[in-house]
């Protein structure tokens, strides 16, 4: 859908729904929220709902950063210590690479 044609209240509603939806372990949704509403929140000339949209976009960006940090940490730890953890690592693994590491 094109945001140009949508009235402001609906934009706010959409932004808020995306923000709330992201709490269901969906940082990707927060990313979409930030990218999609960035222009609406920061570039466009001010309108009544813009303040709220800005808050949502900022909070989505914050949540996204937190998730990215957490995931990066976990992935780094896993990839580094996978071989050492032995059985636990195998239990956690979806695919196990073949060959000599």
């Amino acid at each position: 859908m094109n945001l140009e044609r949508v009235p402001n209240e609906e934009k706010l509603n959409l932004c808020r729904k995306y923000y709330l939806g992201g709490f269901a372990f969906l940082p990707f949704l927060w990313l979409v929220n930030v990218v999609w509403f960035f222009r609406e929140a920061f570039v466009k000339p001010p309108y009544t709902e813009q303040q709220h949209i800005k808050t949502y976009v900022k909070r989505s960006a914050l949540g996204l950063l937190l998730w990215v940090a957490a995931l990066t940490t976990w992935i780094t730890i896993f990839q580094h210590f996978r071989a050492q953890w032995g059985e636990v690592a195998d239990y956690l693994s979806f695919t196990i690479p073949l060959g000599i590491p």
Partner: protein, 434 residues
Amino acid sequence: MNTSDSEEEFYNERTALVSSESPTMATYTQDSQLPGPADTETKEGASSRLARGTAEREPAVESEDEELTLKYGAKHVIMLFVPVTLCMVVVVATIKSVSFYTEKNGQQLIYTPFTEDTPSVGQRLLNSVLNTIIMISVIVVMTIFLVVLYKYRCYKFIHGWLILSSLMLLFWFSFMYLGEVFKTYNVAMDYPTLVMIIWNFGAVGMICIHWKGPLQLQQAYLIVISALMALVFIKYLPEWSAWVILGAISVYDLIAVLSPKGPLRMLVETAQERNEPIFPALIYSCKRTIEYSLPVSEGTVSLPFSDEETPQSNGEGLERSQEEPENQAFMGRNRTYSAEEEEERGVKLGLGDFIFYSVLVGKAAATGGDWNTTLACFVAILIGLCLTLLLLAIFKKALPALPISITFGLVFYFSTDNLVRPFMDSLAAHQFYI
């Protein structure tokens, strides 16, 4: 894992080319004095009404409108090239790199029960023809079922089916795909990260396709699910059956969309009468200047695929069958859809079309000799798409997108594989450059 049944359904629905707004808009504007989008037809209608008083202005206005139609037509062709190319590129890249999709381990869809592992050529041909007949009849039945459902306004049923289909497609097939890609590249992946990835991908996909989301993301998801579906088909259809099915489905497409009693045509006409958009997730639409986006009709790529996928689960037999008709019907619907969204400008192409184009190019990449064949098929399909869109601009009604492209694709595949390739090989062997 046996992919299944509903895949066929997907075929049907998906292979529909929705004509651009031109055709339906024209009838619409003539019927009512709608301001509507600045459609060429609208302009034509309005201008011709105005011009009644001033007869001399008519020729100028009409030629302007024609020019605009052609210009929009050209833009639409370009706009459709990109997604079709992307889908094909994804499929070919996967086929060439991930060997899973080219391995035949004897598993087949239940729609193609006859095996091709027969001693004689005649027997193999017969089996593939029988497979095709079964598949096409399933598709026809499904389409008719879908049209009936639509006519009797069982919208909830259809929606539920579509949602189940897309769930299956977005979660299960992408899970399989990711697994194979990781195995190919020998990457270690743990379950928590994987669950996060699949969950995010699937959930955002469902939101974008069935509810509201940014247009580019929706288009991207549609392309991805078309590619996933095409890959499943390439894996589970036996060799000769796949080619015969491609041919047969183009013929079916032609009949279903153009003949007056064709199910797809009836679907489109019913949708037009009720002035409703076609269900989302069945059509891909490239919107350009969108004056006002109608909820459903926008770029929905048909999810016929999803239907196919759902058969995977055992208890879904009933659902699958339901989905199938939808798929088929939707494919047709997608074609004519554009008329309903009066403000949308942009041609719509059914997801089934994407899928079958990708199946053709993917099979050429998997079984053809080298890149020449693949490229030839790719070019053939694009040329066919151009011609189809040209016809769309001329006739201004829903048209089947499969026949011309698939015919060119098949002709190019077989001739390149059997004539051009040996020729090029001998030239290279003798170091003779032309």
